[in-house]
């Protein structure tokens, strides 16, 4: 489509980049790191430096020593540059290692108690300490999804309204609204739980899934509002002007031109919010507690959810219950990942669309 309209383009030429790293250099670099790793492994085995942290330290020291040796004949500037490169890289590795470790641990420990029934059975007739082939987290998954659904129904419209206010209406309170949304993002989750406990739970007289959902909504609102604003900002002004030029008032332009353009983006906002709150534990411990069976009615009473299920089983403290807790964590992490990747894909689609529509309008201008 675009190729027909663009004028003759010069043939794509691969530009020469003399500064780029040669493939052979890169291979030697990796080879060197491998040699260092083996050396560090030997050091770890022979000296008091032991375990993972000892290995990491040995590796870093060897690397630093080599860097110093190689750069000893260079100027001070090059030497400093090389040392900084090694230090920054090791800081970055140190920053990333915990998350990798968490992913690996959750998958390894979580898969022990998983079996197909884990996703459908509940814990009504199974105790936390029973064999791993009984019971499951079906009720917790349902409870979590139910409360997250309640939270989404509440926050999505409010978040979209706040996004529209910040990008379309642009009233006098723009600064204040943005500031408050930012500050809301920092409300501790326990405090949200306490707030819903004093209002919803105490006025209803019982813990409930509704209370849990509302508590999650309090935590979800800032994420949804902020993402909605970001998404709406992507809409090019040309589209709005086109709407006005066709005689549409502001409300029609906003509702019929701007919002449909970013439909996927708004779904992204909701999904990002879901991924943010589905693992929240503290507010649910104060509002919906935990049960062992399926609950489909959000105002009936306590509801189980994945976080509280994991928490309760982990606190129970036996081997079997801990394995169950890890499996719950694996399911939870998988859910978060699923929502997250979904949001990413939709977000990318949305960005492409916004860009395409701005290109389209730019073309029609010329």
């Amino acid at each position: 489509m675009t190729t027909t309209t663009t004028p003759l383009t010069p043939e794509t030429v691969n530009p020469q980049r003399p500064w780029a790293m040669r493939r052979s250099t890169r291979a030697t670099n990796y080879g060197r790191l491998l040699v260092f790793a083996i050396a560090a492994g030997i050091v770890t085995l022979m000296t008091p430096l032991a375990n993972v942290d000892g290995f990491a330290l040995a590796f870093l020291l060897i690397n630093l020593a080599w860097t110093l040796g190689v750069t000893s004949r260079m100027g001070a500037k090059e030497r400093r540059d090389a040392i900084v490169r090694v230090s920054i890289t090791s800081l970055a590795v140190l920053a990333f290692v915990p998350w990798l470790s968490i992913f690996v641990t959750t998958i390894l420990k979580g898969s022990t108690a998983l079996y197909p029934g884990y996703f459908v059975n509940d814990m009504r007739v199974t105790s936390a300490d029973d064999e791993l082939t009984f019971g499951g987290a079906g009720h917790a998954i349902v409870g979590s999804l139910m409360m997250v659904a309640i939270a989404t129904v509440i926050t999505l419209p409010l978040g979209i309204l706040s996004g529209i206010y910040l990008t379309e209406v642009r009233g006098r309170l723009t600064f204040l609204v943005r500031f408050i949304v930012q500050s809301m993002a920092g409300v501790p989750s326990v405090v949200a739980g306490l707030f819903i406990f004093t209002t919803v739970v105490q006025s209803m007289g019982r813990y409930s899934g509704l209370a849990g959902g509302v508590a999650l909504a309090v935590l979800m609102l800032p994420t949804v509002s902020r993402t909605a604003e970001e998404v709406l900002k992507l809409v090019p002004d040309d589209l709005r002007n086109a709407g006005y030029a066709l005689g549409a008032r502001q409300w029609r332009t906003a509702l019929m031109v701007v919002l449909p353009t970013v439909r996927a983006g708004l779904v992204t906002a909701a999904i990002l919010g879901i991924a943010r709150v589905i693992g929240e534990t503290a507010p649910l411990l104060l509002t919906s507690l935990n049960t062992n069976g399926y609950v489909w009615n959000p105002i009936q009473g306590t509801v189980g959810s994945l976080p509280t299920y994991i928490f309760a089983l982990f606190m129970y403290g036996t081997d079997y219950s801990t394995s169950r807790a890890w499996s719950g964590s694996l399911v939870l992490l998988a859910l978060v990942l699923f929502f997250f990747i979904l949001a990413r894909r939709l977000g990318a689609k949305n960005e492409r669309r916004a860009k395409a529509s701005s290109r389209g309008s730019a073309k029609s201008k010329s």
């Binding site: 900084v84 890289t89 706040s162 609204v177 306490l194 209002t199 939870l332």
Partner: protein, 331 residues
Amino acid sequence: MTSTATPTPREMTVIYSRADKIFRGIVTAGALTSLVLLGLIASFLILRSSETFREFGFRFITGSEWFSDGFQDVLADGSEATASKSVFSIGPMIVGSLVVAAIAMLFAVPLSIGGALYIEFYAPRAIHRILVSMLDLAAAIPSLIFGLWGIQVFTSLGVRWATLLNDRLGFIPLFSVEFENFGRSPFTAGCVLAALVVPITTSVAREVYSRTPRDLIDTCYALGGSKWGAIRAVVLPYGRSGVIAGAMLGLGRALGETVAIYLMLNLVFKYSYQVLDSAGGNVASMIVLKFGEATDREISALIASGLVLFVITLIVNMIASNIVQRTTPRA
């Protein structure tokens, strides 16, 4: 100058139709829910905690006792004491929250700066994008899982580091301990909290660094600067306020974190500066710990604790969002 008279500029006014006014009203009302909600949270917490504050006054924040009616406790000298009257105060918890958060930030800030610099300036192109999305993903890992990982995987490492610290630097009061039991200490909790905060601070720092004007960096190179020279001369000063804002956001998160710390820390109502000792305090986890079997008056005290926590984190976050808003270029 030519002598042609320029016509006086015409005043442009926008006249909204009635439908537009209704639309704008609805949208404004929707946008103000956040404000209303924040106000509601504050007023309900104040309302429900007033009883506690009236009874204990300022001692609620400074004292270090938490007894409910008829609660029995074994005192330090071995005698048994029964509380005849409930006493609620959270001094050690507030200090403990600050201590754990400070330890976390001590580790998290250098790691995030290093991580952000690596992602933006050192990482090969191919893994740059992967790292950026991993960063977002890591920020979405539930804190409960951080807690499980901390207690089951990290603790053995943390305890070894703590033992080593105590062994070599035990003469410094900060690293001394009462009992040689290093698990569930402010130090190990702080380390896990650091792992939890790093994604947040790193992604803010990375974003600021990525906005460094490219021509300034190129100027550095053109003047013969090394990569580190460019980073030190341009990138770090340019990103300073952003990094501070990210650190403040992380600090807010660290202060409000609940379950991860609940799992990683022994809560003890005693002022202590020994960060390696298996005793610490934390307002948020204390609320969850005491909530289960709380009496009505205790609930009021817990809500008062929540209010204290809310005020602390709100101040931290307002400072952070103020910096963020001042440093982000207007769209």
